[in-house]
Amino acid sequence: MSLVELRNVSKIYRVGDEEIRALDDVSLDIETGEFISIIGPSGSGKSTLMHILGCLDSPTHGTIRLDDTLIERASPAQLAAIRNQKIGFVFQFFNLLPKLSVAQNVELPMIYAGVSSRERRERAMAALKMVDLENRSKHRPMQLSGGQQQRVAIARALVNRPKIVFADEPTGNLDSHTGETILHLFRELSQQGRTIVLVTHDPEIAAVTPRRIEIRDGKISQTVDAKLAGLDRLSPTPAP
């Protein structure tokens, strides 16, 4: 059984009398441990897909099964719990809370998970160590560079041991060198066996992942699977 199963998912927005099909009958499976990218130009529906996959939004039609939970029937409180326990998000603009310290930002998901304060501190420090920022735990996000902030965001995404991590244009706000190190970090995490979904408009970034799903006008237009093409026997493509 796949970790994520999308079946005939559509998302339709209504603007006046006009129907906008942001997603049109999309079916998709993501296996545990996969490193996959969703690629498409802006307005293609890739963000909508990520929101639906990430339980931030619900589809108009179709079903999603995430780790054996049927999302269609989940209440808002259950969705919040799923986001909390099973999903980690990394955003383009980092989305750290400026008033909290780095460590407190990383602790945030655990607060909503009801983890005791001592365990929170330990796990936050462990997560920061993983992204090499344990000596910055007392800093404010604004005192860090963009790359460091994104690493804090990754630590926050990982701290509740999620089943799947979604990264929405994680390098979009960084210079190319820093972006490269972030992608490198994702690749390392993937090699540790985590399931990671990269959402991007940039084919060069998408090239990092073995499997690429291209979205155009709300439909999956093309799937490139290194495994199917026998490319996985080659060394991972170096980032540009």
């Binding site: 931030l56 919040a80 998901p109 926050r156």
Partner: protein
């Protein structure tokens, strides 16, 4: 998420916007302070009025005063007899439900002089010895005049301490208490011997203050003594009047001042008033009806008199207090309400500022409920902090008011008003936080994350 963390977040949020939060709290602070201070003022007023009520003779005292003839008896107005001794004897004989009757004949424009000093007492009245019991006077020195003094119309008087203070010197100025029994004073041209003096009447507050001052070292006076003016005397109105009373025997008053004497060639037998004490204050109405029947008879059916009961006065007092309480409560309530609106406004501004934060919190797993609680707790924390600061402010405010208000009306902070004000501010915190919290909780996480 546990409550403690939410409260901590609330405090941090307030601390992050110190000045804004303070301004927001100001409404609550003022509201709570004014509520507590105003109820303290009303309480002080109530205390003063109750004390005064007892001082003027209790609830079962009724005064009969002359009143204009009613409209339907206007043609009989020149036959109206007024209140005279006839009424007193008639009531004494025919109204058994009246326990005590005291006539009172006041002197108009009284002046008392002695050795070049003059004093205008509030009242010089010719009366019976029963006036002592009627008006709750206490003789501290000497004696009250008796029936024999009255019968033989002796030139004797009983004075209050105000007269003594003015003509002989007060204990404060002379440093010792002068007891002028046996001294002679001149009342409107006639010599009178002082045979008794009332005790000094004062409210509890005044007595406490006086006793406190007694133990303090005296100020060294430099330069000429100056009068502090009438306003400098902070003693209560009712007690001041009571101290400035002089009683003469009824017949002395009649013979020396009211019958044809001196420039006064028309005798005036009218009493200025008649005081009754009802035997049973529970049966006030029938007793008054009885007295009324008797008086209607002696007045030939002309209703030129009126009963004034302390009960109506006491009702007046409670009504006044009620009005004061309501009007001041409304003022305080309005300022609390305005404070609440201020909080609501700031909470709305605050969540608009923090839409993105709310989106992030929701993305990492905050439920609708936990966002709701977070905003609500922030609002309550602001309101409660404001309430606490308001209580402190009210304490200071009441100290200031106490220094300004007359002694017997000294404001008194009640625990109930503090509890009420604090509870009210908590309630306002909840009420003001509800809408913003609901708005924040309902935010769509995707929209919130996109918000710039």
């Amino acid at each position: 998420m546990d409550l403690w963390i939410t409260i901590t977040i609330g405090f941090k949020e307030i601390w992050a916007h110190k000045f804004r939060s303070l301004l927001t709290m100001l409404g609550i602070i003022l509201g709570v302070a004014s509520l507590v201070a105003m109820s303290a003022l009303v309480k002080g007023m109530e205390n003063g009025l109750r004390e005064a009520l007892v001082a003027i003779g209790g609830l079962e005292k009724v005064t009969v005063v002359e009143e204009d003839v009613p409209a339907w008896q206007q043609q009989l107005a020149d036959q109206a007899p007024g209140i005279t001794m006839r009424d007193v004897y008639a009531l004494k004989d025919s109204a058994p439900m009246i326990k005590l009757i005291t006539p009172e004949m006041r002197m108009r424009g009284p002046t008392v002089t002695r050795q070049g000093k003059a004093f205008h007492p509030w009242m010089i009245a010719g009366t019976w010895p029963s006036a002592l019991e009627m008006n709750q006077h206490v003789i501290a020195h000497g004696r009250m005049f008796n029936e024999i003094d009255d019968e033989s119309a002796r030139s004797v008087c009983v004075i209050g301490t105000a007269t003594r203070d003015e003509l002989f010197g007060s204990p404060q100025t002379t440093g010792q208490e002068i007891i002028p029994i046996g001294e002679r004073i001149n009342i409107n041209g006639h010599l009178f011997t002082i045979i008794g003096m009332f005790k000094h009447y004062e409210s509890d507050q005044e007595r406490k203050r006086r006793e406190l001052e007694k133990n303090q070292p005296k100020e060294i006076k430099t330069g000429p003594a100056r009068s502090r003016g009438y306003g400098g005397n902070r003693s209560s109105f009712v007690f001041r009047l009571k101290n400035a009373t002089i009683y003469l025997p009824m017949n002395t008053m009649w013979i020396k001042f009211r019958s044809t004497a001196g420039t006064n060639n028309i005798p005036d037998p009218r009493l200025s008033g008649l005081q009754l004490k009802v035997a049973d204050s529970e049966r006030m109405e029938p007793a008054l009806q009885q007295a009324r029947n008797v008086l209607m008879h002696t007045h030939h059916g002309i209703e030129d008199f009126e009963f004034r009961t302390q009960e109506s006065w006491s009702e007046n007092i409670s009504q006044q207090i009620r009005h004061a309480r309501v009007s001041r409560g409304i003022i305080a309530g309005i300022s609390l309400l305005v404070g609440g609106i201020g909080i609501m406004n700031i909470m709305f501004a605050s969540i608009t500022e923090r839409i993105r934060e709310i989106g992030i919190r929701k993305a990492v797993g905050a439920t609708t409920f936990s966002i709701f609680i977070q905003i609500l707790v922030e609002s309550i924390v602001i309101a409660l902090l404001g309430g606490l600061a308001g209580l402190v402010t009210s304490y200071a405010l009441v100290r200031v008011l106490a220094a300004m208000s007359p002694a017997e009306n000294a404001p008194q902070i009640t625990l109930a008003s503090m509890a009420l004000a604090f509870g009210f501010s908590a309630g306002i915190g909840v009420a003001a936080g509800l809408l913003p919290a609901l708005k924040a909780a309902k935010l769509d996480p995707i929209e919130a994350l996109r918000y710039e």
